[in-house]
């Protein structure tokens, strides 16, 4: 089995409240925040690795390829994914500001046609743009079935059974491969991924795997191929263009600390008038 995992880098999402806007309002500035793999893409990578291995013995049954769009230094982030266990990378060099969901989906579709994976596994959204579009567009461009917001995946021969986390509960689909699956956070819980190889008794931690020193050493030797948008036959024409950015106004008023439950109730009743 071959799995393709698109990886995006984002400015440290745990400090998203430190994002700023350039004085002319044209750009979002991450300052000295470090880059990280978009958390949902990291979950996709973890799920991909679980699909391809016997979790108890560590034996691998297929190939996991990552693909990333970004400038030259995005390869640092790609090496982290390789250190986690991906086998090789494809780098599409381009400045992130010149991209939108459509261009990314077209570039990924072109990579899929070259690589012919059985499954594209990716984050449901990048936590910088928060758009949640690329996986769905990619599936449509390829004419492939999709399952978005996956919280569980079970591999059954040439099919997967996916539990989708939707507003009203869990919607389950059975899909014939090849397919596009976008993952939600709970895909990394201990029992979320089943591949028929890892024994049922095996419990993964409820999280992505740690990067080992051995993994880092191995990652240095793993190949990263470069493919330009031009080579992929994709025109970099934006269909969604950002004119400006702004930091939303802060909530007005300051925090009022209260001492007792009765004081709180009085204030909510007489001052805030919400109860």
């Amino acid at each position: 089995m071959k799995i393709l995992v698109p990886i995006k880098r984002v400015a440290d999402p745990n400090n998203a409240n430190k994002m700023k806007v350039s004085p002319d309002g044209k750009r979002v500035v991450s300052g000295d925040l470090p880059w990280a793999i978009n958390p949902f893409d990291e979950y996709a990578l973890e799920a991909g690795l679980r699909l391809l291995e016997n979790g108890a013995t560590g034996e691998r049954f297929g190939e996991l390829v990552i693909v990333t769009l970004g400038p030259e230094d995005v390869q640092t982030t790609m090496r982290q994914a390789l250190a986690m266990g991906a086998d090789r990378g494809i780098h599409i060099p381009i400045d992130e500001e010149k991209l939108d969901a459509m261009i990314v989906a077209q570039a990924l579709a072109a990579v899929v046609r070259l690589e012919a994976p059985d499954l594209v596994l990716m984050g449901k959204q990048a936590v910088d743009g928060d758009s949640n579009n690329v996986g769905q567009m990619l599936a449509e461009f390829l004419g492939w079935p999709m399952a978005t917001f996956a919280m569980s995946i079970a591999l059954e021969g040439k099919q997967i059974v996916v539990g989708r986390e939707v507003d009203t509960g869990v919607l389950t689909l059975r899909i014939e491969l090849p397919a596009v699956v976008t993952v939600d956070l709970r895909i990394v819980l201990s029992k979320s991924v089943r591949n028929g190889k890892t024994p049922e008794s095996h419990a993964y931690p409820d999280d992505v795997r740690h990067i080992s020193v051995k993994g880092i050493m191995a990652a240095k030797k793993k190949p990263i191929a470069t493919k330009t948008l031009e080579e992929l036959g994709v025109q970099p024409n934006l269909s969604v263009r950002y004119l400006r950015f702004e930091v939303p106004p802060a909530r007005s008023g300051s925090t009022r600390y209260v001492e007792s439950v009765s004081e709180l109730v009085r204030l909510l009743h007489t001052e805030a008038k919400v109860i």
């Binding site: 009203t168 950015f245 702004e246 925090t255 600390y257 439950v261």
Partner: protein, 328 residues
């Protein structure tokens, strides 16, 4: 002039309330730029639901009967075909998991740009539409335009109030269902829905939300339910509480869970991670109950009760019961 298509969302053979936010967007856009809007009701039992959608001022309500549960591959071709045959230039749905799943797939069929989860829009002097989107967990607003002939837009439910009915009645019309080969490769298995007596999270006037400090599923239920009952509130949870199994996943409030903006949000034992704040900081009044007065939730809280929740929450429930009975 814009011709808007509102893609309705069905739930239990009725119109899901989310649809009414998309209709409000359509009406606002028609007010600013002229034009009309249509509604497409698609899914199982569509014809009956179409009648429920006729009282909102649409030029027409189209319906397409697709039996079985929702599968994007079975819906997208029909939506796209209608847009192209009717010449709609804006396609909108509410950014529920349904709208977020379906619309980008529709957009890709005719190469349209998508502005997802918008919080507002404006029409510039040259007539172009500028969409305002929360990004970076709500820490940045991006203002964008769509440069393709058709715009595809999903709207944040909490930013567009539910449309009220109008006097007139829209005519209804059946549309042809378009099949796509790809749909044969997807089988709808089931929807395990959580049935609740409480109001829907995204629509509730008051939300009582619990975090990891509740320490167990049993505590979560025992402390939060009576409080929610007395307030007629919906119950929410932090990601940590959901991950720990204290609350079901579909109660998660946050950047990647549900976005809520009630008039009162009570955060109980929630420290206030950035991704949680992204889902609730639009609330009118925010109350935090926490032992740590420096918890990040303080950045958005209007009232902060520094207290042990195990003592304070039952006390709060009792105090509110007294207040309610005095009011009655």
């Amino acid at each position: 002039m814009v011709q808007v298509l509102v893609v309705a969302e069905l739930l239990d053979r009725a119109l899901r309330k989310t649809t009414l936010s998309a209709i409000t967007f359509a009406r606002q856009l028609n007010e600013s730029k002229g034009g009309v809007f249509d509604v497409l009701v698609i899914g199982e039992g569509a014809e009956a639901v179409a009648h429920l959608a006729t009282r909102y001022g649409a030029r027409k309500v189209f319906w397409a009967e697709i039996p079985g549960g929702y599968v994007a591959e079975r819906y997208a071709p029909t939506v796209a075909q209608l847009v192209q045959s009717q010449g709609h230039n804006v396609v909108v749905a509410t950014a529920s998991t349904y709208g977020k799943d379906l619309l980008p797939r529709v957009a890709a069929r005719f190469g349209a740009g998508v502005a997802s989860d918008i919080a507002g829009f404006s029409v510039e002097s040259d007539g172009s539409i500028v969409y305002r989107r929360p990004m970076y967990a709500g820490n940045i607003y991006g203002y964008c335009t769509i440069d393709t002939p058709i715009h595809v837009v999903s709207v944040r439910q909490t930013e567009f109030e539910a449309a009220a009915e109008v006097g007139s009645e829209s005519p209804i019309e059946a549309v042809e269902v378009i099949q796509d080969e790809v749909a044969r490769r997807v089988e709808y298995v089931s929807l395990e829905a959580q049935k609740r007596e409480r109001p829907e999270l995204a629509e509730a006037e008051i939300v009582v939300s619990g975090g990891r400090a509740l320490k167990s599923a049993e505590n979560f239920k025992r402390l939060l339910e009576p409080l929610a009952d007395v307030l007629g509130a919906a119950i929410g949870a932090s990601r940590a509480a959901c991950d720990a199994g204290y609350a079901p996943n579909d109660l998660q409030v946050g950047q990647t869970g549900k976005v809520v903006a009630p008039k009162l949000y009570i955060a109980i034992g929630i420290s206030g991670a950035i991704q949680h704040l992204a889902g609730m900081k639009g609330s009118k009044v925010i109350v935090a109950i926490n032992t740590n007065k420096d918890a990040p939730i303080a950045a958005v809280a209007d009232y902060f009760l520094v207290a042990d929740l195990f003592k304070a929450v039952p006390e709060l429930t009792e105090e509110l019961k007294r207040l309610k009975s005095a009011q009655a």
